[in-house]
Amino acid sequence: MALLEFQNVSKSYDNVTKALSDITFSIEKGEFVSIIGPSGAGKSTLLRCINRLVDASEGTIVFDGHDVRKAGKAEMRQMRAKIGMIFQHYNLVERLSVIENVLHGCLGKKSAISGMAGHYTEEEKKEAFRIIQEMGLSDQVYKRCDELSGGQKQRVGIARAIMQKPKMILCDEPIASLDPKASKVIMDQLKEINQTKGITCLVNLHQVDVAIKYSERIIGVSGGKIVYDGPAEHLTKEIIQQIYQSSANDLIMDLQR
């Protein structure tokens, strides 16, 4: 059975214009899938429907055998704990230390009181240190996150997601605020997580070339609809034009790998 299934999912914010309309696709365990499309196409909304940061209006979303939209509060939290998320603006608590931010990854499993007070077990702390080391942030452990560079912040974001021991990681424009060098580091790390830990990755991307380079499968979204869903190598200039609704010459990209 697929890890994630969308069936005829729609979302509208104001009951008039649809941010998503009739979205259907499924993702198998261990896949690395990119979603591409112009800004405002509904990529972010699609991702957020999965962990219910945004509630879909119609259709069914099944994650790991559970109907996401019908889940109660406690069930929803459990589900969220199994889904890591990485954001364009990192979304760290900037005034807390790197290690504290990584430990936030296990809040989903904490009781109300111990999570509130920020009490973590020694095991959890060690695990967090291990992940931080893997991410190459050993020297930054006790620094406050607002002292880090963008690339480092995003690595903390990834570490937080891994801390959740997730089945899937959602990445919302993970490299949109980073320079090319840091972008490469982040994408390589995501790919590595996907391959060594077998965590499914669903990545929103702006850059078509990056999507083609890193992912096996690409979903093209335009105007809230899926206009392409298939292997990366089958993505042609014409399809890209269709996704971005402009001539390929206007697009800054490089299809040669």
């Binding site: 291990r130 931080i132 080391q133 020297d139 060594t196």
Partner: protein, 289 residues
């Protein structure tokens, strides 16, 4: 799957100890090592400590707290749920509101006038730093004196009334606006002033050709915000320093006739006026931005 983490676990954990720091009890530390965090903690402990000390040392004069609270609730009910004008007519009250309004306007205009010239002298980018520091400390002192005391000080020579009220209120507006204006002037791009200087413009030409046009919007916003504050202050001055206006009516109703219903109605009128002003001011702020 997770083998990569676990298998070389022994070697990794040795390295881990190097980057981990432990507390006296052997627990792993997770808080940031940062000066500001310690300062914040110390400050919070101090403030909470002072609060406890305050409650411990207050002279409560053996007041029956429960009874007082009950009476208060009853009074609040009378004031806010049964408001009625029993002494004054609505027209006379509205006229007094206008008086308060005008007290606010006068003090804002006069304050803004002086503040404009003073801010030219204490904006770091156009004045000497000695001048700036001097004027800034003078302004800090002016600001530190409560408005009501300024009003009463001027009442010594001018007598209680609108003159003392306006002058007293003006002092605070002046200090507040000088600071605000100076900050807006400091935000001007240095290029604008330099360009005019290079053209050989005189001081006043720079002021009126460069500084005024580029700061006028934020100055208007600040001035209006100050007007809002001055209006509320004018109500308070009417009550506490006999400066006239609706505040004085409030004072008479509350402390002289003990007429809670009248007080309620006057309060509502003031609140409505303030809310209206706030709405206008939000509009202006949005427009300016």
């Amino acid at each position: 799957m997770s083998e990569k983490v676990l298998q070389p676990g022994t070697t990794i954990s040795l390295d881990l100890e190097k980057i981990m720091e432990r507390t006296g009890k052997g627990k792993i530390k997770i808080k940031a090592k940062n000066k500001s965090r310690y300062a914040l903690q110390a400050l919070m402990v101090t403030l909470l400590g002072l609060t406890v000390v305050a409650f411990a040392t207050f002279d409560y004069q053996n007041i029956d707290f429960a009874e007082a609270v009950q009476a208060t609730l009853q009074n609040i009910q009378t004031v806010f749920l049964e408001p009625e004008l029993t002494r004054d007519t609505l027209t006379s009250v509205l006229y007094q509101l206008l008086v308060t309004f005008c007290l606010g306007i006068l003090s804002t205009i006069i304050g803004a006038f002086f503040a404009f010239f003073c801010s030219l002298l204490c904006a770091r980018n156009i004045a000497s730093s000695r001048m700036v520091n001097g004027i800034k400390s003078f302004i800090a002192v002016v600001r530190a004196v409560p408005t009501v005391l300024w009003v009463l000080i001027f009442a010594v020579s001018a007598g209680l009334g609108s003159v003392a009220a306006v002058v007293g209120l003006t002092f605070h507006s002046f200090a507040y606006l000088t600071k605000a204006y100076a900050e807006s002037i400091e935000e001007i791009e240095p290029g604008i002033i330099e360009a005019l200087k290079a053209n050989g413009a005189s001081y006043w030409q720079i002021v009126f050709q460069a500084i005024v046009p580029s700061t006028i919007t934020s100055m208007v916003a600040w001035t209006f915000m100050r007007f809002e504050i001055n209006f509320t202050n004018a109500v308070a001055m009417g009550a506490a320093a006999g400066a006239g206006g609706i505040g004085f009516n409030l004072f008479m109703a509350g402390s002289f006739y003990f007429d809670l219903q009248e007080m309620g109605m006057l309060t509502y009128i003031v609140v409505i006026a303030v809310v209206l002003l706030e709405m206008v001011s939000t509009r202006i702020k949005a427009y300016v931005k």
